[in-house]
C-alpha cells in the first residue's frame, strides 16, 4: 500500500487511482505467488507522429495514463492469476471435490442397483458365509452369556461339550474339531432372544439341542460356535383340557407329557425315539407308530413361539384348532431342523385317548406276504391305529436281547394296534385276522389283557435298542429311513433286504408300513463304513426312483442334504435356499443342515 502511494505522480489521477485501489489493494498484499514472476505486459509502442502531436503536459499526462493503464492491467492479471493459484482456493476445491464424492457415494446408497430379482437362490451365486469363532470373540460372548443366564447355566466342561457334539446312534461322524465352544442353558424365551442377539452381533453360529436323539448329524457343530441346550425349559405351561390343547416348553419329553395327559384321558400322538423332546420333534418333523392313524408332528402343532436369528420373537398362531389366516409359518418351522428359528414354546393339539385298545401280532412266511397284508388292511380302510412291520432278523434280535419276556417266531411279523369302542375293536380285530389268513399268515395272536398289550407293543418300541444290544464291541449303527407310495413298499423292502445280505453286513428292517415308511438298521465297524454307506445310498436312490422320499421322518441333517436335489430338483432346493437366506442371512442357525448355503469343496459330494 505504501509503495503504491509513493508511485503516485500527481493528485490529478487520484480519482482514477482510488477506483484502481479498490480493485487491487488487497490482492497485492496477499499475493503468495512469489516464486513465479508474473509476466509484465510490454509497453505500448507508439509512433513518433502521435508523440509529436502532443504538448508536454499532454505527453506527461499521457504517459501517466499509460502507466496507470499498465498497472491496472497488471493488477487485473495479478488478480486473475491469484484466483487461479490461490492455495486456499485449491484446498477448498479439493475439499469440495472430496465432499462431492462423499455426497455422491451417500446418494448412491439410495439408488440400489437392480438386484437379480429371482424367486430362487442358486448355490453357484451363494455368498461367502462369514462367522467369527475366534477365541477372543467367543470368550467375550461367553461373558455376555454369563450375564444373561448366570454362571451356572453356561458350561465349557469337556464332558458337556462331548455330549453336545456327537452321539452313538447318529449316522454322521463329526470331525474332531466340530465341537461347540460352550453349552448355554437358557431358562426362558427372553433369554434365548438375548443370546441370539449376542450371537447375531458377534456372528457366532448356533445349534439348538433338545433330546439329542436325532440320527443324521442334525446337531453336529460344523461351524463350531455354541450349543443352546433347552434342558431347563421343560415345563408344561398350561393344559386346556376342554380345548384339547396344551402349551409346553421345548424340553418337555413326549413320554412324560403323555403320562401327565393320561390322567385326563388325553394323549399326544407323535411318538419318536425314547428321550426325544418337543423342540427336537418340531425340529425334525417327527412321527412314529401312531402316524398312520393320527398323522405326523405337522398335524399336531397349533402354534410355535420361535426366536429368529436376530433375536426377534415371533408367535405363529394363537390356539384355534384350524385357521386359514396368512402363511402357515407353523408348518414351515416344523421340520426345519433349527435352521430357521429356535422353538421356545409350542401349543400342541391333543387327542382323546381311545376308550379301548388292543394289539395283535401276525407272522408271515415272507416280507412280501406281510406287506401284501398291510396294503389290504389299509386299502379296506380298516381304522387300525398302527401297523408296524419287523423282519425276521429284527425278531431274532429281540429274542437274543431278551427285550421281552416272551419268545417270538423268527419270521417277518406285523404288529397291529386297534383303538375305538370295545365292540368296534373286536370287529376290527376279526376283520384283520380274516385278511391275514387270506394272505397266508403263520400265526395271529392278540393281547387279552392290558399288560399283555404293553408287553407286545414294547417289542416294537425296543427294536433299535435290541439291535444295539447284539452289536459287537466297536460296532456302530446306521439307521436308514425312506418312504415311498404304499404300493411300491414290498418291492423296495425286499430289494433292500437282498442288498443288505449281499453286502455281508448284519441288518434288520422295521417299518411304519401304513405310511409306506421303513428303516434299515445296519451294524458296521470302522472298516465297513463305506459298505454301509453304499447300502443306504442304494436304498435311498431306489426310493427316489419309486417316487418316494429320502427321509420319511428322521429328517435331512447333514447326511441327506445332497440327496435332496435328486428327490426334489435343483430349482426346488433353490427356493428352499432362498427361504433360509431370508430368515437367516448370516447362516447362524444350524448352518450347513438341510440345504447347503455354500458351494461344497470338490469331491465332497458323492456321485448319485
Amino acid at each position: 500500500m505504501a509503495s503504491l502511494r509513493q508511485k503516485m505522480p500527481n493528485p490529478a489521477t487520484l480519482r482514477s487511482y482510488r477506483a484502481l485501489q479498490r480493485v487491487v489493494a488487497v490482492p497485492r498484499v496477499r499475493c503468495y505467488a512469489t516464486d513465479i514472476e508474473p509476466e509484465r505486459p510490454k509497453p505500448l509502442r507508439q509512433g513518433n507522429e502521435a508523440k509529436l502531436g502532443r504538448s508536454f503536459q499532454g505527453q506527461v499526462q499521457g504517459s501517466i495514463g499509460q502507466r496507470i493503464q499498465r498497472e491496472r492491467e497488471e493488477r487485473d492479471r495479478y488478480e486473475h492469476w491469484r484466483e487461479v493459484t490461490d492455495p486456499s482456493r485449491n484446498w477448498t476445491l479439493t475439499i469440495f471435490v472430496l465432499g462431492m464424492v462423499g455426497i455422491s457415494y451417500w446418494l448412491g446408497t439410495f439408488w440400489h442397483r437392480e438386484e437379480e430379482k429371482a424367486s430362487t437362490y442358486r448355490l453357484a451365486t451363494a455368498k461367502e458365509i462369514r462367522h467369527n469363532t475366534k477365541l477372543e470373540n467367543m470368550q467375550a460372548a461367553w461373558a455376555d452369556f454369563l450375564k444373561i443366564v448366570g454362571k451356572d447355566h453356561v458350561s465349557t466342561l469337556e464332558t458337556d461339550i462331548d455330549h453336545h457334539a456327537a452321539s452313538d446312534w447318529s449316522s454322521h461322524k463329526p470331525k474332531p474339531e466340530e465341537r461347540p465352544f460352550c453349552v448355554v442353558y437358557p431358562g426362558s424365551t427372553e433369554e434365548v432372544s438375548e443370546i441370539m442377539k449376542i450371537c447375531h452381533k458377534r456372528k457366532i453360529p448356533v445349534v439348538g439341542y433338545s433330546g439329542g436323539t436325532s440320527l443324521e448329524g442334525h446337531f453336529t457343530h460344523t461351524r463350531k460356535g455354541i450349543s443352546i441346550d433347552f434342558g431347563r425349559m421343560n415345563k408344561v405351561l398350561a393344559l386346556h383340557k376342554e380345548d384339547l390343547d396344551v402349551v409346553v416348553q421345548p424340553a418337555v419329553r413326549w413320554e412324560l407329557l403323555n403320562e401327565d395327559l393320561g390322567k385326563d384321558g388325553l394323549f399326544f400322538p407323535p411318538d419318536p425315539g425314547p428321550g426325544a423332546m418337543i423342540g427336537g420333534m418340531i425340529g425334525t418333523g417327527c412321527s412314529g407308530t401312531n402316524a398312520y392313524r393320527y398323522g405326523t408332528m405337522r398335524e399336531w402343532v397349533l402354534s410355535i413361539t420361535a426366536v429368529l436369528a436376530d433375536g426377534t420373537v415371533i408367535k405363529t398362531r394363537q390356539r384355534p384348532r384350524k385357521s386359514s389366516a396368512g402363511y402357515d409359518l407353523t408348518k414351515l418351522l416344523i421340520g426345519s431342523e433349527g435352521t430357521l428359528g429356535l422353538v421356545t414354546e409350542a401349543t400342541l393339539k391333543l387327542a382323546v385317548k381311545p376308550e379301548h385298545t388292543s394289539v395283535a401280532v401276525a407272522s408271515f412266511p415272507s416280507i412280501h406276504h406281510a406287506a401284501t397284508c398291510v396294503s389290504k388292511v389299509v386299502g379296506k380302510g380298516i381304522p387300525v391305529a398302527a401297523v408296524e412291520i419287523l423282519d425276521d432278523n429284527q425278531m431274532k434280535c429281540i429274542n437274543e436281547a431278551g427285550a421281552t419276556s416272551r419268545h417270538w417266531t423268527e419270521a417277518p411279523t406285523i404288529f397291529f394296534k386297534f383303538a375305538g369302542t370295545p365292540n368296534g375293536v373286536k370287529e376290527q380285530v376279526s376283520q384283520v385276522q380274516a385278511l391275514a389268513k387270506e394272505v397266508g399268515s403263520k400265526s395271529f395272536d392278540f393281547a387279552k389283557s392290558h399288560e399283555e398289550q404293553d408287553e407286545l407293543w414294547s417289542a416294537r418300541k425296543e427294536a433299535l435298542w435290541s439291535t444295539l444290544a447284539v452289536k459287537k464291541e466297536g460296532d456302530r449303527v446306521w439307521t436308514g429311513d425312506v418312504a415311498v407310495p404304499v404300493s411300491h413298499l414290498p418291492d423296495l423292502i425286499e430289494e433292500t433286504k437282498e442288498d443288505m445280505k449281499k453286502s455281508g453286513l448284519f441288518g434288520t428292517i422295521v417299518g411304519h408300513v401304513g405310511d409306506g415308511n421303513f428303516h434299515s438298521i445296519l451294524l458296521y465297524n470302522d472298516a465297513q463304513r463305506a459298505k454301509a454307506e453304499a447300502v443306504v445310498h442304494r436304498m435311498v436312490k431306489r426310493a427316489v426312483e419309486l417316487e418316494g422320499t429320502v427321509t420319511g421322518e428322521h429328517g435331512v441333517g447333514l447326511v441327506k442334504r445332497d440327496y435332496l436335489p435328486h428327490e426334489l430338483g435343483e430349482t426346488t432346493i433353490d427356493a428352499m435356499r432362498l427361504i433360509k437366506n431370508a430368515f437367516d442371512p448370516q447362516c447362524l442357525l444350524n448352518c450347513d443342515k438341510v440345504v447347503r448355503m455354500q458351494k461344497p469343496a470338490s469331491g465332497e459330494v458323492h456321485e448319485w
Binding site: L93, V97, V101, S104, W106, L107, G108, W111, H112, R113, E115, S119, K201, D243, L244, G265, G295, E299, L308, D310, T312, I314, K315, R317, P320, R321, K322, S323, S324, A325, G326, Y327, D328, K331, L332, G335, V352, P354, G381, T421, E427, A483, P485, S487, D515, G516, N517, V544, T549, G552, E553, L564, L568, T572, A575, L578, N581, A582, F583, P585
Partner: protein, 559 residues
C-alpha cells in the same frame, strides 16, 4: 469466494477453454498432460472438475454396488413396519400391459385371452364376497399347461404386470380382486385328473378340477377327497385358501391332504415340492407354505392329493336345543369325549327358519330351533350305532331333544345338502340390493358357546338380520349378516358387529379366519392376530419369493 463454477465438470471445461493457454502452466494442477499439450487440454479447473465428476460417478456406482454386496451384514431379519422401500411396487401401465398381452399371445399359440367386460366382471367381483372393490383385471388369460403358465409369468415379470390366479371364484374375502388390475390367470381349462393311484390312495390333478366332479370320477375306486367347501370350488383355489368344510372335524383341513404341489414362481421357475410319499421330513415344508398362500407366492399348476377310503357305513342324526349356547356346549362335550364323529354342524333358529322358507330339506319342514347335525362314520355298523348312542346321551344332558336318525341314504344326503346349501338359501332370501357379510372365526373349543352367543346378541342389538352356522367340530363358525350397502348406518353396524366378533375371538386365543382366508377383507385383522413381527417375517417371505410383488398383490398383508 465469488464464483463457484467448478462444481460441475462441463461448466469447468468451457471456462477452462476460455482462459488463455499460458495460464495453464501456472496453476497447481496435478495433471501432467496440461503441460504436454497446452493448446488443447482444458486447464486445471476442467481437469479437476472432470476428475471430480468421474470420481462422483464412480462413487455412486460403487456405492450402489457395495450397498448390495454388504446388505446381509447385521441386517435385522425382521424389519418392523416392513422392509425399507423408497418406492412402492410399480406396475405396468395400460400400454405396457397391452404389450405384455400381445407378447403372451404371440408366444403361446392358441391361448385364450379375454377383454370382455363380462369376463372381467366375473373375475373381479362376486356377489357372495364381502370385500368387493371397484377395480377389475385388465384381461383374463386361460393357460392350459404348466409351461404356458411359466411363460406368462416370465412375460408378466418382464413387464411388471400383476398376476392374479383364479379358480372358481367362490372365495369370499375378495381374494381374486384386482386392486392394481393386471391379468387374471384363470386355470379352469386345466381340469384333467392326471392319474389316479388307487393302491397308493392318492390322485394327481390339475388345478381347475372341481372337487365334486373329482369325487364322482373316482367313486369306483372306493376313495374320496374329504374336503367340501363351496360345491363350485376348484382344487387350485381350495389349496390356495386352505379350505375345509363339514368334514374337517374328522379329516382335517386341506393342508393335511396335499402331498405335493407343482408351482410356477413369479419369475417363471417351476418347482415341485415333493414326489408322492405319504409322509416325509425331507427339507423345508414348501407344500405347507404354498397351501393357504392365496396365490401370493406362486401359481399352482398341479397337485397330488391324498384320498380317504369312503366309510363303509355312516349315519346322520339331528337334534334340537333350546338355545344356540346349549347346542354349542353340547358340541364341545361330544368332541371332548372323543366320540369319533365324522362331522358336527350347528345351525341356529334363524338359519332353520331360512331353510324352511326356501322349501325345507330332507323332504320336510323343521323345528325352528338351534340344531346340531351330526355325521357318524365307521367301518362297521355296530361302531356307528355305539357312537350314536353315546352322542344321544350327551346331547340330552344339554337339553337336546328330538334326536332323530336319518333312515335312508336319500334322507341322509338330502339332510346334508340342506347344510351345504345354507349360504345359497340365505342369498336367495335376501331383498333386492342387500348383501350378505359372511364372517369366519375360530376359537378354542371351550369358548365356542360363549362367542356364538355374544355375536348373536350383538347383531340383534344392532338391529341386523343374521344367522349362525358353524363347523363347530373344530371351533369354527360363520355368521351371515344381511345388510344394505347403500345404508350407511347399517353398513357401519355390520362393520362394528364383525369387528367386535373378531376382537372377541382374538381375546379367546382364536383366529380371524378359520377357513375362508384373509384376501383383501381381513388384512387389518391379521395384523391384530399375529403382531407386526410375525407379519414382517411373512412379508419378507413374500418379498423373497416374489420380489416385484406381482403375484396377487395387495392380499393377506400390505406389501
Amino acid at each position: 469466494m465469488r464464483r463457484f463454477p467448478q462444481s460441475i465438470g462441463l461448466l469447468t471445461i468451457s471456462r477452462g477453454q476460455r482462459a488463455g493457454p499460458s495460464r495453464a502452466r501456472r496453476c497447481y494442477s496435478t495433471s501432467p498432460s496440461t503441460n504436454a499439450n497446452p493448446g488443447r487440454t482444458p486447464n486445471g479447473f476442467g481437469v479437476l472438475g472432470l476428475v471430480a465428476a468421474t470420481a462422483a460417478v464412480t462413487a455412486v456406482v460403487t456405492a450402489s454396488i457395495m450397498s448390495k454386496r454388504t446388505e446381509p451384514l447385521p441386517k435385522p431379519v425382521v424389519e418392523n413396519g416392513g422392509p425399507k422401500q423408497r418406492v412402492g411396487p410399480r406396475y405396468a401401465d395400460e400400454k405396457t400391459t397391452l404389450k405384455a398381452l400381445e407378447e403372451i399371445k404371440s408366444s403361446i399359440k392358441g391361448i385364450s385371452v379375454s377383454l370382455d367386460p363380462d369376463d372381467l366382471e366375473s373375475h373381479g367381483y362376486a356377489e357372495w364376497s364381502g370385500s368387493n372393490i371397484p377395480e377389475r383385471p385388465f384381461a383374463v388369460v386361460m393357460p392350459t399347461t404348466t409351461e404356458e403358465v411359466s411363460t406368462i409369468a416370465k412375460i408378466c415379470t418382464k413387464y411388471k404386470v400383476p398376476m392374479i390366479p383364479f379358480g372358481a371364484g367362490s372365495s369370499v374375502e375378495g381374494h381374486f380382486s384386482a386392486p392394481f388390475t393386471g391379468l387374471s390367470i384363470d386355470l379352469s381349462k386345466m381340469n384333467n385328473v392326471v392319474s389316479l393311484n388307487a393302491d397308493d390312495m392318492d390322485v394327481v390333478v390339475q388345478p381347475g378340477v372341481n372337487w365334486v366332479n373329482l369325487n364322482d370320477q373316482i367313486k369306483e375306486s372306493g376313495l374320496f377327497l374329504p374336503l367340501d367347501p363351496s360345491p363350485t370350488a376348484h382344487i387350485g383355489g381350495m389349496v390356495a385358501t386352505n379350505c375345509s368344510g363339514t368334514n374337517a372335524m374328522r379329516y382335517g383341513t386341506m393342508k393335511d391332504w396335499v402331498v405335493n404341489v407343482t408351482v410356477v414362481l413369479a419369475d417363471g421357475s417351476v418347482i415341485k415340492t415333493r414326489r408322492r410319499p405319504r409322509k416325509t421330513s425331507a427339507g423345508y415344508n414348501l407344500t405347507g407354505l404354498f397351501v393357504g398362500s392365496e396365490g401370493t407366492l406362486g401359481i399352482i399348476t398341479e397337485v397330488t392329493l391324498k384320498l380317504a377310503v369312503i366309510p363303509s357305513s355312516y349315519g346322520v342324526a339331528t337334534t334340537t336345543f333350546p338355545s344356540v349356547k346349549d347346542a354349542a356346549a353340547a358340541a364341545s362335550k361330544l368332541i371332548r369325549r372323543g366320540i369319533p364323529l365324522a362331522a358336527l354342524e350347528l345351525m341356529d333358529d334363524v338359519q332353520m327358519q331360512v331353510i324352511n322358507k326356501t322349501g325345507g330339506a330332507g323332504g320336510r319342514m323343521w323345528a325352528e330351533k338351534a340344531t346340531l347335525f351330526i355325521k357318524f362314520s365307521g367301518s362297521t355298523e355296530s361302531a356307528v350305532k355305539d357312537n350314536m348312542e353315546q352322542a344321544q346321551e350327551i346331547s340330552k344332558a344339554y337339553g337336546g331333544a328330538d334326536f332323530e336318525v336319518a333312515k335312508s341314504q336319500e334322507e341322509m344326503d338330502s339332510l346334508w345338502a340342506a347344510r351345504k346349501q345354507a349360504l345359497w338359501a340365505m342369498l336367495a332370501l335376501r331383498e333386492e340390493g342387500t348383501e350378505i357379510w359372511s364372517t369366519d372365526v375360530a376359537v378354542p373349543l371351550s369358548r365356542m358357546a360363549e362367542i356364538i352367543d355374544y355375536s348373536k346378541e350383538n347383531s340383534s342389538k344392532l338391529g341386523l338380520f343374521s344367522s349362525v352356522l358353524g363347523h363347530v367340530g373344530d371351533g369354527n363358525f360363520h355368521q351371515a349378516v344381511m345388510y344394505d350397502p347403500r345404508d350407511a348406518k347399517q353398513t357401519a353396524s355390520v362393520k362394528k358387529c364383525v369387528d367386535d366378533m373378531v376382537d372377541m375371538a382374538l381375546e379367546m386365543d382364536g383366529t380371524v379366519s378359520g377357513e375362508h382366508g384373509i384376501g383383501i377383507g381381513k388384512k387389518h385383522c391379521l395384523e391384530k392376530e399375529l403382531g407386526s413381527d410375525t407379519i414382517a417375517i411373512m412379508r419378507s417371505l413374500k418379498q423373497t419369493l416374489d420380489p416385484h410383488c406381482l403375484l396377487n398383490p395387495g392380499k393377506i398383508f400390505e406389501n
